[in-house]
Symmetry: C2
């Protein structure tokens, strides 16, 4: 591990509103990042695209500018909340350098794009990233990323006992 | 990482004839296993089921006992060869404890079953585990395992430059 320790690794961790991604981050911090190394954890949150929302029946809804503004404000608040929670977890590992990225778009495109652009050494994510219905049609975000991202991908599931307790 | 260092982790690495799984093992040894820890790497090779072979058109072929014996002998030689190559890679990390498992069956069932039975902390595998045609119908082994195994799953792809050089 000498080579990696000397230059430090860049580890991209995709976070979202779900507890599973926070569990994935915690697991990564405890099991992957190396203490007293130059490892950098890049926290990435993908804000869902705002312009067009479609219903289950395929109907496309366009909103007025006022509604759009308050939706954007809500989206930003959610993004900030997720990022703050993730940073708090990282702060328990004071020797890890942390960067934060918030990007708009489909989670699958955002994550794959960021992994490519940043040239990260590893991508870490929870196994859930969509609701049940969307996942049934589109496949999971993690499956998509595991297939399309070039770097190693670590998919972390939250153990059931932990999930039930929270 | 104090907790993990004290008890050591059990990391299951699925290996097969492909260079990609050997790359995944190397990557794991360099980036995941902790030097001077009590980590154990369990090498797992799944021998394809022998009894029945089916053709692309769905025809099922049953072989005579002589042919079966020589096929079994060939399968064992391949399994031993893969395991030896994997052990050689591990021997470059002398502080890592290594165990080896060879089991017969569909790779997807064997890997998921072993991860469950051994209660491993992590599963590591290459992203390819089937030929192109079988993968198109069945999905990749790694996707299946990522969906069905409870522990964190690390999927490692061989970089194209490495793949081209070998």
């Amino acid at each position: 591990m000498a080579e990696d320790e000397s230059k430090g690794r860049k580890i991209l961790v995709a976070v979202d509103e779900g507890e599973e991604s926070m569990y994935a981050l915690s697991w990564c911090l405890s099991n992957i990042t190396i203490q007293n190394s130059k490892d950098t954890v890049v926290l990435l949150y993908a804000k869902p695209p705002l312009a067009v929302y479609s219903g289950l029946d395929g109907t496309v809804y366009l909103f007025s500018s006022n509604i759009m503004l308050s939706m954007e404000s809500y989206r930003n608040a959610v993004a900030e909340g997720v990022m703050q929670k993730a940073k708090n977890l990282c702060s328990q590992h004071s020797d890890i350098e942390v960067e934060a990225m918030i990007e708009s778009g489909d989670a699958r495109d955002v994550i794959c794009g960021a992994a490519e652009k940043l040239g990260v050494d590893m991508l870490v994510m929870g196994s859930h990233g969509y609701g049940l219905i969307k996942r049934a049609f589109l496949g999971s975000v993690s499956n998509h990323c595991a297939q399309n991202v070039k770097c190693p991908v670590l998919i972390v599931k939250r153990p059931k006992s932990t999930a039930e307790n929270k």
